[in-house]
Subunit: 193 residues, 2 copies
DNA sequence: CGAAAATTTGACATGACTCAACTGGAGTGG
DNA sequence: CCACTCCAGTTGAGTCATGTCAAATTTTCG
């Protein structure tokens, strides 16, 4: 089944039985995505809840000056979507773009709603998953309002060592809310090789 | 029923039937909270999911220098808890304190879990509620990494005009991640009366 | 290999913080 | 009603953190 990676992933929550797996499999589409390919662009409605099987994505906005601001990354076994646009069906202000060649599984809104209505387990699992994401996001926000760039960078390295290895520093700087030049200066003080 | 305010609030989601209302009512405690009273302190486990019936709270952390950083506010018809501590049962690093004399309804973890397991509607409603909070928090984070203090303040006034009226500027500054002095300078430039 | 992107460095500009002093309003006790 | 304190807000001078722009260098990937 193409949906096998999600089934494995759900074993960390309430695992799916055979029937539920089939329901999910029928409603899931697999796609190969090239590096730099977008799966969501500004002014389009976010039509899919995306699960990353392999690869890595960034979600970002572009401001009036043309600068990108990374809101989040998603690598293996993570979900990514502009939830606001997905549920409201209003045009998104965000982009979701592959940082590496990737393999994803996508669910459309109507299908996800079907699963929520017919299989309570999906409500449960997605509740718990987003609660975890909420806690993570709240910690990041606290960092942003209470720490300087140096501390935020060190914290990023500690919290996401694997991501730090696969991402260019430019992307990390954008995620931290600083310029690439300033991150470079921070790194030279810390004395990273 | 003391839980009436939550029942009303749930009419925006999946409304509760009679049986579900009773189950919820049995597991809910009402408390009066004085101004400046804490319902969560650092190093204690967050034992309750709290619904604000009347009044206003702030959740914040205190850094090594003794400065407070407001992570969130919660006024009428909002939930507040340190979710990380609540679910992990580890000591919190946060405080939740009443900014005004308040009336709240509280649910303990074991009771909330009971409701999640026995009434799927609770999984649904709390999923949708936290998805909404997640979208809001993500917008705030985007503001923080992409805008200067002036823009963030204007955005706060626009997004939460009612909160802006009832909160001292000190608290707003802490929420925006700036010092009260700097907020004061921003306000004098904008020319707020 | 060759083009494009990422990284580094430096000079300079600006946003934001710190500290201290002052003001004014809200409560409190006499 | 007054005197007092306490807290929020304001202001200014000086400092530090971070941004901007440009140029040179290195790395990456097609």
């Amino acid at each position: 089944m193409t949906v096998q990676p999600i089934i494995e992933y759900f074993k960390n929550y309430l695992p799916l039985n055979k029937e539920e797996r089939l329901l999910l499999d029928k409603r899931t589409t697999q796609r190969q995505i090239k590096r730099r390919q977008m799966i969501l662009q500004e002014n389009f409605v976010c039509k899919h809840y995306t699960f990353v099987v392999k690869g890595c994505f960034k979600m970002y906005s572009i401001d009036e000056k043309g600068s990108e601001h990374n809101i989040s990354f998603a690598a293996e076994n993570e979900w990514i979507a502009d939830l606001g646009s997905f549920y409201s069906e209003k045009p998104s202000k965000l982009f979701i773009e592959a940082i590496e060649p990737s393999l994803i599984l996508q669910i459309e809104k109507q299908d996800l709603l079907y699963l929520f209505v017919n299989v309570a387990k999906f409500d449960r699992n997605f509740r718990v998953i987003i609660e975890e994401k909420y806690i993570e996001l709240q910690n990041r926000l606290l960092q942003n309002i209470s720490s300087n760039a140096n501390q935020r960078y060190l914290n990023f390295l500690e919290q996401y060592p694997q991501l730090a290895l696969r991402l260019p520093n430019t992307q990390i700087a954008s995620y931290l809310g600083i310029t690439p030049e300033f991150l470079s200066k921070i790194r030279s003080e810390i004395n990273i090789q």
